[in-house]
């Protein structure tokens, strides 16, 4: 029973306790860019989750084979392989989504969440645990992206997933779907998250880092 609990906690870890976007503050570039519409956010979330789960599984399988000295290039090649698969599938079957996501699809390769999970979790844990961790983190990412896209799409275009939700007579806040709106929404969401943590007495320290943890600490020591 205790073991099952730990499996569940690995899965839910990524959704709330270690939400990759709002609590670990990783992978911010793609979150800001793809949340102009809910459909884009969902598409990016699915692509991201697929790459994360697959790369976690492969890296966890290979964790005793990959030499420590060249581990980063090895991880990057595994991740880039899966990203290429996603690119090809999406180009073949979801052309409009492929165009909407643009360069941010290949940029999943350098998304720090994936590299970070490989570095912190998959290289130390069993295959099943790593896959669960990938699913949890993926859901956490997708939920956050969808939440932010909902805010931006409802305010900016008055619709949700393409359906009109606000009456036509209400003026639209066009800037919400553009660059400033993305920064503003993300700032608000994060502040809301901090406020909620204060109420629940679960304040976490936010460190920004698109880097593997080791490099981040080295960088801080130098400061």
């Amino acid at each position: 029973m205790a073991q099952e609990n730990s499996k569940v906690s690995i899965l839910t870890n990524g959704i709330i306790k270690e939400n990759p976007v709002l609590r670990l503050v990783l992978g911010t570039c793609s979150i800001l860019a793809v949340t102009t519409a809910v459909s884009n956010a969902l598409g990016m979330g699915v692509a991201f989750t697929f790459v994360l789960v697959c790369s976690n599984i492969i890296i966890s399988l290979l964790r005793n084979v990959i030499p420590a000295k060249v581990h980063l290039p090895c991880y990057i090649v595994v991740i880039a392989g899966f990203v290429t698969i996603v690119q090809m599938v999406m180009q073949a079957y979801f052309q409009s989504l492929y165009t909407a996501l643009g360069v941010f699809l290949p940029l999943i390769v350098v998304n720090c969440i994936i590299l970070g999970r490989a570095e912190m979790f998959a290289c130390k844990n069993s295959v099943v645990d790593s896959a669960l961790d990938g699913v949890g983190m993926g859901i956490g990412y997708t939920l956050t992206a969808t939440l932010m896209a909902t805010l931006r799409e409802v305010l900016g275009s008055g619709s949700w997933l393409g359906f009109q939700v606000l009456p036509e007579s209400l003026p639209k806040v066009g800037i919400m779907t553009q660059a400033p709106g993305a920064f503003f929404c993300f700032g608000l969401l994060m502040a809301g998250c901090v406020w909620l943590e204060g109420k629940l007495d679960a304040r976490v320290e936010r460190k920004i880092g698109c880097q593997p943890l080791k490099d981040l600490q080295e960088g801080e020591d130098k400061e």
Binding site: V25, V77, V103, V110, F183, G187, A191
Partner: protein, 210 residues
């Protein structure tokens, strides 16, 4: 030709600013832009790596991947080139240019996972790859290199602007939940429309269509 290059350079800095308009490289922007000297060091390293990476990947795409019909390998090949290049530059600087290494060395390992570099290598192929057929390889190559340096300078501009903004913001007293990152993001939201306002200015000054 020179007018067009200047137009490309300035439009990459102002209109298509990589950080504030296009969202590439947000992580180092939020992480390293606390002090002016670390902002300068990081963006210096980024400009350098962007230039070198584009110098390698653009011919690679035109002369190797395209003729061999291997365009789908772009992502894997480019990220590998960048990773190897960053390692190589680090070793080279450590051995031959110690002073430059001391200034940029700390930031180099972080650059492999910086979206800016991969983004610029992919985007110049999309934007200027077609020019090879019309203007010849040399012209397209120079355009892509100018574009790479311009994007890097744009990154530097955003980083330096924000090292100043953040010093001011930290001295103020925002509401408790906004302290730290959230208020920085909100200040970015206020700065970013100015860069959108530059649209059209560059094209009209240089009188070219990009």
């Amino acid at each position: 030709m020179i007018v067009k290059l200047a137009a490309i350079f300035f439009s990459m800095i102002l209109v298509n600013n990589y950080v504030l308009v296009k969202f590439y490289g947000i992580c180092p922007f939020l992480g390293v832009s606390k002090k002016l000297d670390s902002s300068l060091g990081m963006s210096g390293a980024v400009i350098f790596v962007m230039f070198m990476a584009t110098a390698v990947t653009f011919p690679l795409q035109i002369f190797v991947l395209d003729p061999a019909d291997l365009g789908y390998l772009q992502t894997i090949v480019f990220i590998l080139v960048i990773a190897v290049l960053v390692q190589f530059i680090e070793i080279f600087l450590k051995k031959y240019m110690v002073s430059l290494y001391n200034a940029l060395g700390v930031y180099l390992p972080l650059i492999t996972t910086n979206c800016c570099v991969l983004a610029v290598t992919i985007l110049v192929v999309d934007d200027y790859g077609a020019d090879v057929a019309t203007l010849g390889f040399a012209a397209a190559y120079i355009e892509s290199l100018v574009c790479a340096v311009g994007s890097g300078v744009g990154f530097m501009l955003a980083m330096c602007l924000f090292s100043g903004v953040r010093t001011r913001v930290e001295a103020c007293d925002p509401p408790e939940p906004f302290k730290g990152l959230p208020i920085t993001l909100v200040s970015a939201a206020i700065t970013s429309p100015y860069f959108m306002g530059f649209g059209g200015i560059v094209e009209n000054i240089f009188n070219v269509t990009l």
